[in-house]
Symmetry: C2
């Protein structure tokens, strides 16, 4: 029944895209890949959403301008250094990265997207990066997607890729694939983290942007690992239109199918990030239904997913549902009457812990079994409206504190 | 020069107040005090601020009504059970607690304030509580303040009390003293935690309420331990006027002095709570100056104090100032231009880490020394307005996660 066919791959799954990932040496004391490049010979229309942080990094401000112009042929991204809060030098370094990539690929510098992730407030090691760009361009390959996905990782423990095929109404088959990084400093209401998606669909940039915003609001903007919104969060989508045929337009079945596919893979990447949240043992999915508005549903779901007390309780596998309802209560939503129901479930079973606004006595042994599963769902029925939303998060562990107590040095 | 004279004691420092704290048996497997009573034979005017949580506990809704009426003679508080999300039974139990205290003290039931703190969603053990109320009333004493302060503790590691004397313009000496509890589930923008303050000042309830709101906004509402706002947070002030003479009125030097004293002891209790934050090793004081508005200054300061990444970095004694500025950046403030300066200081020294919006290279060895101190101050100059605010918080440690992973069971 589903119209989405999952296939292997990431940013190079769609036709015409090549990618590479190498160890340029930006990260000291590590041999991990730290420089990624994505390229399409056929110029792409682009869409993008970005962090709302006031101290947005130089590459973010730069990419906003590229997205406004609407086209690009390449994307370069480094990990190990965020080039954020780096003043005029940071702006200059971003432009130098774009120029260096443009020179290697023989394209205009304004057709190069530039992203950085890593430590804040330190200037980029430009000699290392320039040498890296010279080294990476020749190894671009239609099979380079995973190398690139590894190069954008910071504290991620696994690379994150997904791809789907869709069949349009006229029989054309389009591919959408992407990669993402992010396991800390992730919080809703922003175009969180780094996510790069490519597609061979023919679509203009304004229509693409509509789909990107829709997908981001239902995926990355509903993800929280630690409540912090980075200076560098960016979601970028490149559409090179290489399958040909007519452009898809808004308010058509094909546009809906494309948006559905883009949203689905964004949610997949979101769940991969939540499951890989720094130090996480459990993936938490919080579904709020029958809220007064969609915004209320989203707020309530995100407040639960972001609560340190809720996250600590799930780490301890303790069915402390009082903390969950407490988080709903301070989310700032409209709730004319407390008739709330709550159910917690997993592969281990399901328990209703609250009914019509009052706590229930439940089987603690079953609760322990449910909470020992890796993936846990919390279902909250507010019974005061018709709007729903789902947020994702993870538990808060000793390991989160260890990772973040000593990240910079 | 200061007009406040610190003295020993807490809720029984002011004339005419008696208190007691006993182990009633509400907490299982513990011999800790869990029931507190405060009483003044001369009825008191009262002021109070409460949690804004939608699932506010039954005793909170009850106390709101008492504060609206404006007078009370007694306050009963239990730890070990929050009586929150307990439906009609919870409301009935609150009224029963008030009635039981009233019967013992021979006062009207509507003159009894009732507070609960502890686990959410479990009905109060009313037989234990009623027996406890019978046992506690006879041991009320002018020396019972510390027993009461211990009885309201939950995961607190130390009891929190403070008292000051002020001399009014006509030579009258008034005393203000209080106690508080709270080390988890504490977050700004709410009348956080439990705080009970008593005074022998003659002041009517409307004037008192003005002072209470002012003090709460500059103290408890600027405290964050974990970003969670409880169902039960309450600050209550009782003024029995026993020193006599004329009532203090708003817009007088005496009112200003009283408000200053109330704010000072509220800040003292706030700092005690931040320092005793669950698992905390460091007390963090975040001062934001020259913001566009007072609300902006408060938002920015609280965003920094609430950031898990900032808190983890301070746990690791890592001068990761990029995370601090990142939190300012997502606080939702107005900042026309990034000219921000930042200094981090403690008994160990002081370092400027950011100047005119750009990160500085600094002495890492000195930074480690500064961050190894117990009390750490962060000073952020936004250079875009004339408003300031200070927030308090603590670091995020393994111990926080341990405490909260297994609180309920």
């Amino acid at each position: 029944m589903t119209k989405l066919k999952y296939i292997s791959g990431g940013v190079t799954a769609a036709k015409g895209f090549m990618a590479a990932g190498i160890h340029a040496g930006i990260r000291k004391n590590s041999i991990k890949n730290d420089l990624a490049l994505v390229y399409t010979a056929q110029p792409a229309k682009i869409g993008g959403v970005f962090t709302q942080n006031l101290y947005a990094a130089a590459p973010v401000n730069y990419c906003r301008q590229v997205v406004e112009r609407g086209t690009a042929s390449a994307l370069v991204a480094n990990s190990g250094n965020a080039n954020a809060v780096t003043g005029d030098q940071g702006v200059e370094d971003t432009l130098s990265m774009a120029a260096a990539v443009a020179a290697e690929l023989n394209i205009a510098a304004d057709q190069v997207l530039v992203c950085s992730t890593g430590v804040i407030g330190v200037n980029l090691p430009m000699e290392v990066i320039k040498a890296g760009i010279k080294a990476i361009a020749p190894v671009l390959s239609p099979d380079g997607g995973n190398d690139a996905a590894q190069a954008i990782m910071t504290t991620d423990t696994v690379s994150k890729e997904v791809a789907v095929e869709i069949t349009l109404s006229d029989g054309r088959v389009a591919t959408i694939g992407g990669m993402a990084k992010g396991s800390g400093m992730i919080h809703p209401n922003m175009a969180t983290l780094l996510c790069f998606i490519t597609t061979d669909m023919p679509i203009n940039s304004a229509v693409l942007q509509t789909a990107v915003k829709y997908a981001a609001d239902r995926s990355f903007n509903m993800l929280t690992v630690d409540g912090d919104t980075s200076t560098n969060d960016s979601m970028l989508v490149m559409a090179n239109g290489i399958i040909g045929g007519k452009m898809i337009e808004e308010n058509t079945a094909d546009f809906e199918l494309f948006t559905e596919a883009l949203t689905a893979i964004s949610i997949d990447l979101t769940k991969m990030m939540a499951a890989d949240g720094e130090g996480a043992n459990h993936l938490l999915e919080i579904e709020v239904v029958n809220a007064f508005s969609r915004e209320d549903a989203a707020r309530a779901a995100k407040a639960v997913a972001a609560s340190n007390l809720v996250k600590s309780a799930f780490f301890g596998e303790d069915a402390n549902w009082g903390r969950i309802i407490c988080a709903v209560g301070y989310a700032g939503i409209t709730l004319p009457e407390n008739k709330t129901d709550m159910t917690i479930s997993s592969d281990g079973g399901s328990i209703t812990v609250m009914q019509d606004g009052v706590g229930l006595v439940f089987d603690e042994i079953l609760a322990k079994k449910i909470l020992s599963a890796k993936d846990i769902k919390v279902y909250i029925n507010l019974k005061c409206g018709a709007f729903s939303a789902t947020a994702w998060g993870c538990d808060l562990s000793y390991e989160y504190v260890r990772i973040n107590g000593d990240y910079r040095t």
